[in-house]
């Protein structure tokens, strides 16, 4: 087993150096992750890079040993004898038990560190208050599609109430912001098959999430019908929205741009179509967007022109409501076909 021991020959030493260099290079240049757009993303990526480095090294060593064994120790023509029996080697076995053990314990400690920096421990502070959190209303079977659309405002209020009582799972503030309120709080409701974003302080409701760059944003996640999962790949963050169980996701976006919001938990036939966008604005852009939406959604009777609903076509009548709810034509088509099927 000379090749399994601490390198003593030039060949194994060279192989060790090459494997180390290759692993380090792969760890830094794998290019597997999408771009980073939140404060959490570099933390996760650095951690992943370390795992890639270690993983590449282990992969090369073990697969290399397999391939070398396959070539060097193949049966030669005409040789029907058994190999020399080697039934064990305690130091070697202790070595290859200890090394992975040390690696995984090291990764475990590192992961706790990353997890804390991401804000993972913060929601725990509210855990005591969990018992008296009212479960908010989820829809009954059969009404899963229609009811939430009508009842969402009510649902979100109960969310807020629950949030204020504080029982939260998910990601809270990063350690440096612990105890501070978020700059922006958005109540997010998942329903088959859309996300609704409710800017609690101002009453703005949207089907896309707009946030300013560099601000501490807190999402209070809830689900109306089934479990959904809020995921922004570029943020490396994901949290289930669970009926009856408010959860929280807090992040700071670091780069203006448009990113996909993906539902990651199977939520029905059109689960794959439950996608929307997260738009990270500069502060000025965000304020402009916000103002525009606030005006558009304000109920100002002086500016309202009275029309007889009977004169409007169905789509004209529904149009303002769908805008408010963030339901676009695609979603509606899908909802219709769901109902028909």
């Amino acid at each position: 087993m000379e090749n399994e021991k601490v390198p003593t020959t030039i060949i194994t030493l060279t192989a060790g150096v090459v494997i180390t260099l290759v692993s380090l290079w792969v760890g830094q240049n794998h290019g597997l992750m999408p771009e980073q757009a939140s404060e959490q993303a570099p933390l996760v990526d650095d951690f992943f890079d370390v795992m890639m480095t270690i993983g590449t090294a282990l992969f090369l060593v073990v697969e290399g040993a397999i391939v070398i064994a396959m070539i060097r120790f193949r049966r030669r023509e005409g040789d029907d004898t058994d190999a020399e029996p080697i039934i064990g080697n305690l130091p070697l076995e202790a070595f290859w038990t200890a090394i992975p053990a040390i690696i995984v314990i090291g990764l475990g400690i590192y992961s706790v560190e990353v997890y804390r920096d991401m804000g993972g421990f913060e929601p725990a502070h509210h855990l005591v208050a969990k018992a008296d959190t009212p479960a908010h209303i989820a829809s009954m079977p059969g009404s899963a599609i229609a009811a939430p659309l009508v009842a969402d405002a009510e649902g979100m209020e109960s969310d807020e109430a629950a949030a204020s009582k504080g029982a939260k799972y998910g990601f809270g503030a990063a350690p440096q912001r612990e105890g501070q309120a978020a700059d922006l709080v958005v109540n997010v409701t998942g329903l088959q098959f859309a996300w609704i974003f409710n800017y609690a302080d101002s009453g703005v409701v949207a089907g896309e999430l707009h946030v300013p760059v560099g601000k501490d944003v807190q999402l209070n996640l809830s689900a109306q019908d089934v479990i959904h999962s809020f995921w922004v790949p570029q943020f490396r963050l994901k949290q289930d929205a669970i009926p009856g169980q408010p959860t929280e996701l807090r992040f700071v976006a670091t780069k203006p741009g448009t990113y996909p919001v993906v539902c990651a938990e199977l939520c029905g036939g059109y689960h794959g179509a439950m996608r929307t966008q997260l738009i990270v604005h500069t502060q000025e852009e965000y304020e402009a967007w916000f103002e525009e939406h606030q005006i558009a959604q304000q109920q100002n009777p002086n500016q309202t022109v009275a029309v007889n609903p009977a004169d409007l076509s169905e789509s004209e009548f529904l149009e303002p409501y769908t805008t408010k709810l963030g339901v676009d034509e695609k979603t509606l088509t899908q909802l219709h076909s769901m109902h028909e099927s």
């Binding site: 989820a138 079977p141 799972y169 999962s229 949290q239 669970i242 169980q245 059109y270």
Partner: protein, 561 residues
Amino acid sequence: MTQTETAPQSQATSHSSHPTAWKWYDYFTFNVDHKVIGIQYLVTSFVFYLIGGLMAVAMRAELYTPDSDLLDPNLYNAFLTNHGTIMIFFWVVPAAIGGFGNYLIPLMIGARDMAFPKLNAIAFWLVPPAGALLLGSFFFGGAQSGWTSYPPLSLITANTAQSMWILSIILVGTSSILGSVNFIITIFKMRVPSMRWDQMPLFCWAILATSILALFSTPVLAAGLTLLLFDINFGTSFFRPDAGGNVVVYQHLFWFYSHPAVYLMILPIFGIMSEVVPVHARKPIFGYKAIAYSSLAICIVGLFVWVHHMFTSGTPPWMRMFFTISTLIVAVPTGVKIFSWVATLWQGKIRYTSAMLFAIGLLGMFVLGGLSGVTLGTAPFDIHVHDTYYIVAHFHYVLFGGSVFGLYAGMYHWFPKITGRMYNETWGKVHFVLTFIGANLTFLPMHSLGLQGMPRRVAMYDPQFTAINQLCTFGAILLGFSVVPFAVNLIWSWMYGPKVGDNPWDALTLEWTTSSPPEIENWEVLPVLTHGPYAYGMNGRNGKGLNPSAPTSGEPAVEAK
């Protein structure tokens, strides 16, 4: 590992009036012979493998384009639910534990049958109705909420189909519990008197660990599913959030079984590996005790890792951290096994039979599956890739590259024992090459899909992922075709293959000491252990055939320096 030869103990069988071979129709009856039951399990599960595989190919065909244009999205979800369910509950588990376990355990420990033969038959005959119930659910729309069947989705979609799905799983779960009890008692009570614990083949250790695990965890799944069944049909509200229920409790109950279920699927395969590798490398297994104890370690630690499936769910922070650590620890005993098999190959005289090719292929693929498993064990990274194609890639490397490769290795290895005939090696190798390329082509690119942002269980996806998905689809079609040489080869060889002797591999475990196929009640005279199960190259053996009467005063085993 050697043992001093003991005087032969003649135990003449009192069943000499019995027929010595089964007729074909015996395999369709309530037969109590463990070998018949083993074959019944193997054939039934293989049929389900083909059904589950066709569903997979249909799903991959749907994913050839980003839009949902081939299958109706609800049908797609029914396929993905039943594909997962069938592959786990009707293919890998029944084939590995029910099939190989039943066939081999009594033969390997020198018993005439399982401890409770009728219970054994009952356990098998629960499987076909369970399968029929599952497939019948398609007439009612098919269960659509994934093999996890999380409420509330499972409460509001296709109620009849969902109920049939639940009853089907409860039936196979019952079968699994009955089988586990039988295996544990058989291994404890029915070994030939001359077999010490440390002379028991490693496959028996693996089945013992598996059975203990199944016995602990399966009832919890049955409980969770029963409550779900009540919620769906009888108006209870265990998991109904609108009536005070808690959906996260279901996830705990479900994963308390279903994480260990992955060990139920892989531990017996580890056992198969430990039998196949030494025989075809002509070397004793390296680190027998380490492999045996690591099976037990995986069994114990495996019961405390289930929450890693719930890192993004309603999971408090301390739990995320505790289960990160416990999950990572499972990698250690698993790594010990991998290193031991590599060390068994090292300095061996490797015969490249089809069985060995699949065993080495398993090693190669399992290393990658294991490494990605370690990354998934850590909460911060898992949160990014949870419920994405990275997960799909990981568990297919473990369950296809691991379990299915292992089942193939086992089928080739024991085919001459089961049928008395030899399969065609050339076609076996063609099968291996197609499978190995197909599997890697299908599952390797999925890692990238998941990391980049494609969720799993979707019938429609973002067009930027089209190219990689098409690559996966090509791989899946190749993988589908790879089954053809296997099925044809085995069926043809079973009927017309050249007859082989009792021990074509010159293997040392007890099942090779009886005739091929083994007679009813296994041996005319029960065997006596004269050497350990892996004494290759020891006791003066040179590989020229097993000779139980050979002198045992040969050289002692060599410890590597």
